[in-house]
Amino acid sequence: MFLSMNWISEFVDFSGLDKIEMIHRFSLSTAEVENEIYMKGSDISGIVVAEIKSVEAHPESKKLHLLKVDAGKEELVDVVCGAPNVRVGMKTAFAQVGAKIGDIAISPRKLAGYTSYGMCCSESEIGISDDNSGIMEITDDLANGTDIKDAYQIEDIIFEVDNKSLTNRPDLWGHYGIAREFSALTGRPLKPIETADLSQFDSLPSIDMKISDPLCQRYSCLQVDNIKRNISPVNMRIRLYYCGMRAINFLADLTNYLMLEMGQPMHAFDSRKVDKIRIRRFEEPFTFRTLDGVDRNIDENTLMICNGDKPVAIAGIMGGLDSEIVDDTTALTLESATFDAVSVRKSTVRLAHRTDASMRYEKCLDPEMTVTAIGRFVKLMLDADPQSRVISSLTDEYAYKYPQIAFDFTKAFVDRYTGIEIDNDTIVKTLESLGFGISVENDVFSVVIPSWRATKDITMKADIIEEITRIYGYDNFDVNTAVSPLYPVRIDIEKSVEDCIKDLLVKRFSLHEVHSYVWNYTDEYKALGIEAEDNIRLINATNPNIEVIRRSIVPTQLCQVKYNTDFADSFGLFEIGRTVDGVNPETNLCNEHKKLCITLFSKTESLERLYLKLRDIIAVMTDDIKHMPVFFENRQAVHSYQHPKNLNTVLCNGKSIGEIGVVYPTISKKIDKKASVVYAEIDVVDFAEIKANNIVYDEPSKYPEMEVDLTFMADRFAPIGSAVYTENSPLVKKISVVDTYKDDSGKSITVRILFSDRTKTLTREEVSAVTDRVIAKLAEKGITLKS
């Protein structure tokens, strides 16, 4: 919203104050002001009122005229002018020789053989409207030679306030409310708004008007006629233009002006079309043509202004085309009303049509304002067009009145909330200047909230704190640390496990952390041949490619691997992110999981080696973070990206914490023809919940240890390992695989068993007893010792 400093200054006397500085303070205390502040009129000078004394057609040009103008000097000035609306006796804005318009300095200039000593200007050239159809026509009684900047309020400071920072302040949607803030900030008094006394019309007939719906809070109206003026006063038009609105005609301009001044939207109906005002909703939907010529679908929730049964306006949003003021309108009915804010907002969304009026109604306007606005309207109307007349009494139905809000608060409350000392006097003065009723006794303040702040904005004590502190100025605050007691910081296990995982994967295994999105990348999956599995969906995704929430990070990570195949011959990615596994039917809540996904990619390592490498990464992780071994159990593939043979459940502490697998060959080939790709997905919460084993110190034996290597003809280590473990001999300290070998006789595995006894020197017999039993046990299963 654009604001005019001239307009604000009409209500507060700022003489002697730096206005730019005031705007900065406003930004720090009330609402955000955009960086650029416009110094209107500062780029023009030397433009005066001048009268056209003669007009002659240019002998060779159809467009140009040769004028003599009276610019208030002794001699008439010769001017060549191309505007179509020149005529003798007309007064216009004239840029004399030496004048400046922006970067242009006016000097005598030859045009088609004649010298022009100055230039007649359009309103657009002066910067007071966008009209450049002809030169400006001045109808006010001004002496020739009067500087146009003395005649009109062309010089102004315009600043823009971010509408978003006004959402909670219905009172700031007009200049008068803004002026109140400036008054509080500067300590200068706010002048009352000048209005016409409407009681003088009490004897006139009233308007047939009735609110038939609780969504209308107040409806005030008045009829006027005999409006002769068509074009608004120049200063009014300049303000409208500077504040971002186009001048239309006097009546329309006046309603807009009122809205920008008081924040109260107004509407004018042709009285011939509206003589029986009813405010209601309709049970059946229908279409309604608004004054912009658009047919809009009205449903049973949209509040309408009607003439009898016939809708004439969408309440709070826009009037209808049929009841609009037209050229032969003589009498009009002026509406100044308030409607339920939520209803207006919902209708706005439904109709996808936001207007300057609806924007204000959405904020919960103060119903007290409607009559004042009509009084102001009448005053401005009569000032600018003395022949116009009021022809009805003020007709006003006040259906819903907000309750008055008043409460007490203590000085101690303010002290506790602010943490600084603000004295009682300052508190009282601040609140008074903002229009609050305030009294103080024994450090207890009693406050009455003004109606314009009581529609939703201020409801409780904490709201008062903001009023006091923002005017006090946050820059003036003493800054202090808190005096709360100290306790140890609670460590969140899940968070710390997450950090440990990241450190381990980055520092020890040189993996790269990535982030991806939480939904299926449907198109990218298709390109790799990954099935985009159905799951819970977004209802308002703008792009169908991202509509379904992912069940697993693996597919999204494979897409990222594909993207990076030229990054290095071998690399590994990981992400800790979220997945959703459908909806819990009992709670109707998503089964959200936090998963760790790792993918290894290599063009140089064999699939087996890469898979084992990933296994070791997982094993190091469980060992490092939980001091716990990890086990793997082959399982059936169910997802399109899983390898039918090489897919294992990851078991830790006896429960599944995730899976590790080789990527399905066709997908792997689409990622890279020759590369190996393996992945693991671990549930971070399941893993974090495992209680970590403590370190149990095992004092090293002082006697020599003994290592025995045994080579078995076997495919897998598991049976050998379990044969050794089931021995449960206290002498066995460790078993490891030292070699695997494949020859014509089959696959063999060499294991090394470490024996140790803390109490005495081991004997060969003791060790042999264990190994013999292991060999015998394995022989029963058909696993023989290699000779």
Binding site: F477, K495, E513, V518, N540, C559
Partner: protein
């Protein structure tokens, strides 16, 4: 007999000169000092002598024996030294001038920035929590004093799911759970609530270099009996100065957020120009950084905390924005791209 000694001495001294390795020396030792060696032979022949002559001869032979032993060990040392030198010289000087192979992993830049902030807050006694990404309407709005049809819901275009839940549009969605989790410790044991909860947020908007539908924030709250606006400014200033590792000026402006009252927009002095004004701060000298405020009484109430007794502040820091500012990342989409050409550069600091 003495001539024989001299003869052996003469012969040995030339032989030892010619010995080239340990093996030859050992052979020499056996040849002269071994059981059948010539010096040993001399000693054996001593039996035939008597008296003074025997004593004299014995001395001479012992002298010879010592001479030979010393010469052999001297020569052995000399040869060992030569062998060592040869070994040393056989290894070339290794070239370290080639670029080293680092093979390092990388953290996501968000992780790095987040950890920095977390560490600052931990050092001030804040606990670090995580929260779910899919939340209920109650968590994201109702409990934060944003009732249905409140215009504040217009400000953020939220992704809604078919079951009525939503992708959290702000980390504030975790506030209610944090209050409930720690209210007992606050009320019964007098332990202030001091928590930060970083997390991923979602907004339904078109993406470009400056806009993302998926981004990171970090929420922080502190609740105790006498938490004030003055404390809020202190913590924000201190924390941001730590994060940016320089003295940061902060200023508050009124800002409207339904879950705080009063609510503020916090600006910091421009990091590029220090407040002088530059293109980065649009010549204002200030950067709008984070919304914050005193926790709204209704929000405390929803969390089971009596606002008459307790007050608190809350803030929301944009981690994504912070990471972009810190590392000069120009295109926000790089962060979720998975592109290792960008992301592999973020090794730990």
């Amino acid at each position: 007999m003495l001539e024989k000694i001299n003869e052996i001495r003469k012969k040995f001294s030339s032989a030892v000169q010619n010995a080239v390795n340990a093996k030859a020396l050992e052979e020499l030792r056996i040849e002269y000092l071994g059981k059948k060696g010539s010096v040993t032979g001399l000693l054996k022949s001593m039996k035939e002598l008597s008296g003074e002559e025997k004593k004299n001869f014995g001395q001479q032979v012992n002298m010879l024996k010592n001479e030979i032993t010393e010469a052999i060990s001297g020569k052995t040392a000399e040869i060992k030294q030569k062998e060592l030198e040869r070994e040393i010289n056989s290894v070339p000087e290794f070239d370290l001038s080639a670029p080293p192979v680092l093979d390092r992993g990388s953290y996501h830049p968000i992780t790095l920035v987040q950890r920095e902030c977390e560490n600052v807050f931990r050092s001030m006694g804040f606990t670090v929590e995580d929260y779910s990404e899919i939340v209920t309407d109650y968590e994201c709005f109702e409990s934060l004093n944003i009732p249905k049809h409140h215009p504040a819901r217009d400000m953020q275009d939220t992704y809604y799911l078919t079951n009525g839940q939503l992708l959290k549009s702000q980390t504030s969605a975790g506030q209610n759970a944090i209050y409930r989790k720690y209210r007992k410790a606050l009320v019964e044991e007098g332990k202030p609530i001091k928590a930060i909860f970083p997390g991923r947020c979602f907004r339904n908007e078109a993406t470009d270099a400056c806009h993302e539908n998926t981004f990171f924030q970090m929420e922080g709250v502190m609740v105790d009996k006498n938490i004030s606006i003055s404390n809020l400014i202190f913590f924000m200033k201190t924390m941001l100065s730590e994060v940016f590792r320089k003295d940061i000026k902060v200023r508050l402006r009124p800002g409207f957020f339904p879950f705080v009252e009063p609510g503020f927009e916090l600006d910091i002095s421009c990091l590029i120009c220090g407040g002088e004004g530059c293109p980065s701060c649009k010549h204002s000298g200030w950067l709008e950084l984070c919304p914050c405020g005193m926790i709204h009484p209704e929000v405390l109430k929803a969390g089971g905390i009596d606002p008459e007794e307790y007050t608190g502040f809350a803030f929301g820091l944009g981690m994504t924005r912070l990471a972009m500012m810190k590392y000069g990342i120009k295109d926000i989409r790089d962060l979720n791209s998975g592109n290792l050409k960008s992301l592999s550069q973020f090794t730990a600091e």
